[in-house]
């Protein structure tokens, strides 16, 4: 039960979305993009957000694209995690999608929703950060396409009224060697204590993380250490833990110290598997 009212809009075209945003902005009303709705509904229920208008983007053809061209895999923001996973087009992203919330919710939660939501883990961002992905956004000034990392610093940074329409993943990344290790407190269906996601490009390891800090990130410093084959996996993991952009996150799911412990172990697990493969 949501204790207040809002207007529900379901546009059919990108232009209609822009018009809707403009119109309500002029009326000084707060309009938000609505994908799967799971986070918006739960936050409205507890009154932590009060949108005047929700704009459901699920009917817009561009937002439902899920197809590969010669250069990119294009995924509409309204594609559900389950669709992405079952398409098997980008297995690493599929792995991330398959471990967010639970299966039934994966049939509802959209890629756009996971990237733009307020829940801090945003685990679908990790494969995008690693694969030089790009995004198409639509806003009051029209449509633009930019590298994902330019609009993501742990959360999506967009202009007022701007929203993600599609993400584009370069084809090299789709079948690249990868790893996805998600550690939770105890229960499998849970937020990550530590999520280590990895892609290898030309035998160079790229990693991005969620859970260990208050926001997802990729770090060139950490990658430099992890690729230093002169050091043992333990030492590399140890050093990587020292290079975190901020102290490890702390909440009821896990203390900072324990998260750091899990982080090191998980990196070790990753590096040892890699080392064994190279040997």
């Amino acid at each position: 039960m949501i204790p207040f009212d809002f207007v529900y809009c379901r546009p059919d075209t990108l232009n209609e979305v822009t018009d809707t945003f403009k119109r309500y902005q002029n009326e000084n009303k707060k309009a938000i993009c609505y994908g799967g709705g799971s986070e918006i509904i739960t936050m409205c229920r507890v009154s932590s957000i009060h949108p005047d208008v929700v704009v459901d983007i699920k009917n817009i053809p561009e937002c439902r694209v899920l197809e590969k061209d010669n250069f990119f895999l294009n995924i509409g923001a309204a594609c559900t995690l389950n669709q992405i996973k079952e398409s098997k087009l980008f297995p690493l992203l599929g792995l991330a999608c398959g471990r967010i919330a639970d299966h039934t919710n994966q049939c509802r939660i959209t890629l756009g929703g996971n990237l733009c939501g307020t829940i801090i883990y945003r685990e679908t961002s990790l494969p995008l950060l690693l694969s030089d992905a790009e995004v198409t956004t639509s806003g009051l000034d029209g449509i633009r396409r930019v590298p994902f990392q330019n609009i993501f610093d742990g959360r999506v940074r967009l202009k007022e009224g701007e929203w993600i329409v599609q993400v584009h993943i370069p084809v090299w990344a789709l079948q690249a060697r990868h790893a996805h290790i998600k550690k939770t407190t105890q229960e499998k269906i849970d937020y990550p204590l530590v999520n280590v996601t990895a892609i290898w490009k030309d035998d160079v390891l790229r990693t991005a993380f969620s859970g260990i800090c208050s926001r997802p990130f990729r770090s060139s410093q950490i990658e430099a250490v992890l690729n230093d084959h002169g050091l043992s996996p333990e030492i590399r993991a140890e050093k990587a833990a020292e290079l975190l952009p901020e102290p490890p996150y702390h909440d009821v799911e896990g203390s900072s110290e324990y998260r750091a412990f899990v982080f090191r172990n998980t990196l070790c697990e990753l590096l040892e598997a890699w080392q064994n493969d190279r040997a």
Binding site: D5, Y8, A101
Partner: protein, 162 residues
């Protein structure tokens, strides 16, 4: 473009019947099913998408009706436990496997299993079954009984084919 403000009459297709209901755009599907259509098999266990007791089938897929607006459900086919009619393989299997105790989570599990069978007419790997059923919580059983029910459900399907 659809734009709905204030209480509005919408049409919902539930268990094969079309119903006109008056809803606020912010009404969740669960409340409308229960309070307006009297379809109380779907239960409110958390209204936060965590327990699965409110699961119904929407266009052949499981959906937590607490995390869906009623207005989003227009033009979709919704099935609740009432729509299974008492003869569905999953219902027989749950009785046979003793797969419930208090019964409160049961409707949600039934609908997840029914959707699973809809999407996977042939029994999938155990890991897929687990993934689907991990969307729901049961506080009474040991889960072994529910697992057994899924197997019985597929067994009966096979038997019916033969």
């Amino acid at each position: 473009m659809i734009e709905l403000e204030g209480k509005t009459v919408i049409s919902l297709n539930v268990n094969g019947d079309s119903h006109e209901v008056m809803v606020r755009p912010s009404d969740i599907l669960l409340d409308v099913l229960r309070e307006q259509l009297g379809l109380t098999s779907a239960k409110a266990g958390c209204k936060n998408g965590d327990c699965g007791a409110c699961t119904v089938m929407v266009d052949g897929w499981p959906a937590k009706s607490c995390l869906m607006l009623a207005v989003e459900a227009q033009d979709k086919k919704i099935i609740t436990v009432e729509g299974l009619g008492g003869k569905a393989a999953v219902q027989k299997a749950f009785v046979e496997a003793n797969a419930f105790q208090c019964g409160y989570c049961t409707s949600g599990f039934l609908m997840v299993c029914h959707a699973l069978m809809t999407q996977h007419p042939v029994m999938p790997d155990e890991i897929v079954i687990e993934e689907w059923l991990q969307s729901n919580l049961c506080r009474c059983t040991s889960y072994q009984e529910i697992r057994k029910a899924v197997h019985l459900m597929y067994d009966s399907l096979q038997a019916a084919d033969v």
